[in-house]
Symmetry: C2
Subunit: 380 residues, 2 copies
């Protein structure tokens, strides 16, 4: 179609010469117009237009000023999750709102899960970072810390020197777990990935119960390959803090009703999509030991579960209870019990902190959540 040849930009010096003024006068004309007389301002603008000068070079300006005007966002896994994962999308909507309010650009760092991610982070010209939940062993976290820029991690991992924003996932999972597992005999959890391998699998629970208030990272020495193995799902072995805490919370709930974790089936989805959840839920709901309660880690996964149940002719909550997470728009029409939290608000909060605003402290630092109890868990 049309040519978009990148003709050389005119420089400020050229504009200054053409307008018969010094370079600083041109600079002021753009940066602090009120400091320049109306007369010369016009002369400068005219010269600029004549030369096709598009204004001060953004890179040069930011080098000089020491700030870029952009907030960096790192998605734990892959750049496209920004637009493919519904939870990430809601979160980023909040980040974007704050950026827009401050006139800051939002720069998505191109991570792909490979070793080059560290370089991409190091090379990002930004004034701060917001990190969407990633694994404890993600080297990107160290790279971000090394920049010395303000950074906020959402969901996990926690790291000294970097801010952290997340709800109390374990407490919330425990609460919704009590609701969805009440009266159940063959409970199941529909889980996010356990680690960066994102292996989809179905297995029973495993591992010893950890302390109720523990928020420790994944136990050292457990290699990723083991977590999804036939040996069973050990919550403590998951390297994603959100997954780990929610698994622990669901285990807490089931234990407190007298059940054993090793009797709980855990289906691990590789992505947060209803489609994949439907397939895994179908597996959980088929056969002689079909599950009668499914706690899902997102509404998307729960919706896939509801579709699977419907397709199998199973009644919800009669044959199987189901719970989700997030209270998305679809939860209410589906009569889905869920944990309400605003990812959008959390995104906004992360952005504000990463932009240098003081982070809330004390009680204000806690992120609100609450259980929304709907028909999908009311067995009778």
């Amino acid at each position: 179609m049309s040519e978009t040849a990148a003709r050389r930009r005119a420089t400020m010096a050229e504009v200054a010469r053409a307008a018969g003024v010094s370079v600083m006068t041109v600079s002021y004309t753009y940066g602090q117009p009120e400091r320049v007389s109306a007369d010369t301002r016009v002369r400068v603008r005219d010269a600029a237009e004549r030369l096709g000068y598009p204004g001060p070079h953004p890179g040069a300006r930011s080098l000089r000023r020491g700030r870029t005007g952009a907030l960096g966002v790192v998605l734990g896994e892959h750049l496209t999750y920004a637009f493919d994962d519904p939870q990430a999308t809601r979160f980023l909507s909040g980040v974007a709102q704050v950026c827009a309010d401050h006139g800051m650009a939002l720069t998505l760092v191109p991570v792909t899960g490979g070793p080059a991610d560290v370089d991409r982070v190091t090379e990002a010209a930004v004034d701060g970072f917001v990190v969407w939940t990633t694994a404890d062993d993600d080297p990107v976290i160290d790279a971000i810390a090394a920049t010395g820029l303000p950074a906020v991690i959402h969901g996990g991992p926690r790291r000294d020197g970097l801010s952290f924003v997340a709800v109390d996932d374990r407490a919330a999972a425990r609460t919704v777990g009590h609701e969805v597992f009440a009266g159940a005999r063959r409970p199941a959890v529909l889980s996010f990935p356990l680690d960066r391998d994102r292996i989809s699998t179905v297995a029973f629970g495993a591992g010893a119960a950890s302390e109720p208030d523990l928020d420790a990272p994944a136990v050292a020495g457990v290699d990723a390959a083991a977590t999804g193995s036939p040996s069973g799902i050990d919550p403590d072995a998951s390297t994603f803090r959100v997954t780990r805490q929610r698994l622990r919370g669901f285990r807490d709930a089931w234990s407190e009703t007298g059940g054993e974790w090793s009797r709980v089936r855990v289906a691990v989805c590789s992505t947060n999509s209803a489609r994949e959840a439907e397939a895994l839920a179908t597996e959980l709901l088929t056969g002689p030991d079909s599950c009668d309660a499914i706690a899902a880690m997102s509404d998307e996964l729960a919706l896939g579960t509801l579709r699977a149940a419907a397709r199998l002719g199973l009644a919800v909550p009669g044959d199987v209870t189901v719970s989700g997470w997030d209270d998305t728009d679809a939860a209410s029409p589906a009569e889905l019990t869920t944990v309400a939290q605003s990812l959008r608000d959390q995104g906004a909060r992360c952005a504000r902190t990463a932009l240098g605003h003081p982070a809330p402290t004390g009680r204000d630092a806690e992120i609100a959540w609450h259980l929304i109890s709907r028909a999908s868990t009311h067995r009778r």
Copy 2:
């Protein structure tokens, strides 16, 4: 929580001094490690670690090299549309994929619809622009052209010197219009906004028919306020090319079955959301002259229409036919007739062109689309 104080970065010169080498040796150690002896490389890396040097300053590097490593994306209206509008999200997923493949960051420019948008564009440190559909009179387009950077506009407006990517919306609308309007007596269109005011309204068609192959911009002299007025909806007056072309196409279809445009009701949504569509569709489907065919400009709007019909106890397609646009995942289960096009592919294509790859020409330049005919339009 934890402090994220921005301690001053160490510079390359400091690392050089600490390592007992010249600055250039440090630069090579990072940029072209193979040009440096293994011995000094270690010395340099050590000194860097000791000083907490995070690597070359991205801004300085890009100033020197003349490229930023980021692709700019401008959303016609507001930054958050990136994550709130389902169509924009699919498009950006394609853009993001290409960026990730090339190791380029994706910088979302913080537009808000205000006059400062032009400055935000001018100040963006990027190597090229992708523009998501905006109005013909959006000053941002001129600002982008002025940068001299490669730029691709998706959907519209067209502009000399900038690339353009879009399907033949008018032809597609005409085709799906014939399908959904077949046998109808009281047709309606559920439309995207007509102009930047994004006023939600319901009115009858107005204005003279334009030439079949016309792709002219909005007629001059029609001020925005007039387009949504009681005087009726004139396709030619819409300043959004996509809206304009689709309205023209629907008008073409209805005219070709012998109908008059002034008998077509047009409901204009302010956003691409099923929720708003449901409200407007309810209006269209209520009262003595309730519509019996509704052509929507997106699947989201069509889905809202289906919900409205269901709630009113109307049968689709028996009482009212409905068509959408895009063939999203929800279209097939809903048995929705729709126009299939891949916004994701188009996003990828825009990104590649904006990154400097040659744009396809000739037949390859055309974006594929096709009608998917499903039950929602098969009246008998």
